[in-house]
């Protein structure tokens, strides 16, 4: 399943997407501790799978939560994306 966490508002579109089918394959989930802002956590979803998700607290302010890792002059890599071993399991829309 493709879980898109985030929102669109007047200022833009901000989504972190977890491809849970790929996320399930990962044993350690290093993405969650790699995030300096604590945006990610491991949860059991409605279908009983252990996957990564954006915490409830961060879903509504993801633009602000991720801002420190995304300087105004652009970013090429993020700690969460670097940590994730399965390419495509985690992605940012902005």
């Amino acid at each position: 399943m493709l879980a898109n966490y985030g929102y669109t508002d007047g200022s833009g579109e901000y989504f972190i997407t977890v491809d849970t089918d790929r996320c399930i394959e990962c044993a350690e989930r290093p993405c969650a501790p790699a995030c300096p802002a604590g945006v990610l956590e491991v949860i059991e979803d409605d279908y009983g799978d252990e996957v990564c998700a954006v915490t409830e607290a961060h879903r509504k302010q993801i633009k602000y939560s991720c801002a420190p890792c995304k300087p105004a002059d652009g970013w090429s890599t993020l700690p969460c994306l670097e940590a994730c071993p399965n390419e495509g399991a985690l992605s940012h829309s902005w």
Partner: protein, 261 residues
Amino acid sequence: MITAGIDVGAKTIKVVLLADGQPVVQKIASAGLDTRSALDRVVADAVAAADGLERDDIDFVVSTGAGRQDVPFADDQVTEVTAAARGARSLYPNARTVIDVGAEEGRAVRCNEAGGVEDFAVNEKCAAGAGTFTEAMARALEVDLEELGRMSLRSTQAVPMNAQCTVFAESEVVSLLHAKTPKEDISRAVHDAMASRVTSMVRKVGFQKDVVLVGGLAKNAGFVDSLQRGLETEILVPDTAEFVGALGAALIAAERAGEGR
């Protein structure tokens, strides 16, 4: 040489007149429903306030702000980023980070040692990122803006604010009131929420001292306090915070007039 800087904001129009690079007049008026006539009136007021000045004495006009295209007599235009940086630097020569929060937009600007703009981040098109947010909360709490700011400083307890949208925050404030949360604590939550959004923008450009806050929201003591706590650094706030954009534009007007543009 007389130059004018006109900052046409979403809510107010600010005019600064300089005589040989020195501020002589600053005027502010509500942009209102008919911006064009409000503009003419505030410029006329500014001219009248300067002894012995006539409208035609103004050598060069630079406009800025969201409505900078709507100043038909402007000789030139600059972005709010440029104007804010220029104006802040003139007041604080060591300013490296300028935070400008107005009625509808908030921006963070980082300058190099020479005062040139290196990076900026803007919060726009979302009312929660600017002064409209605090105004709406003041209405929900039935106090005026100044009182809202002062109340925040009297808060004794931090209360979380979950809503990130002005519309939902209004409902949340009403719920908090129903739950008998003291207005001072709600006010602080409002300013902390606002400040945290602005702080994240500032972190996007990476801030360096001196940090200067300009724009309408700088007049809000509660917001300034929340911002200082959020950034954990000293924030310089000029008395003329609202006029800094217009001041910057007027200074640029003086430069450009001198260049014979």
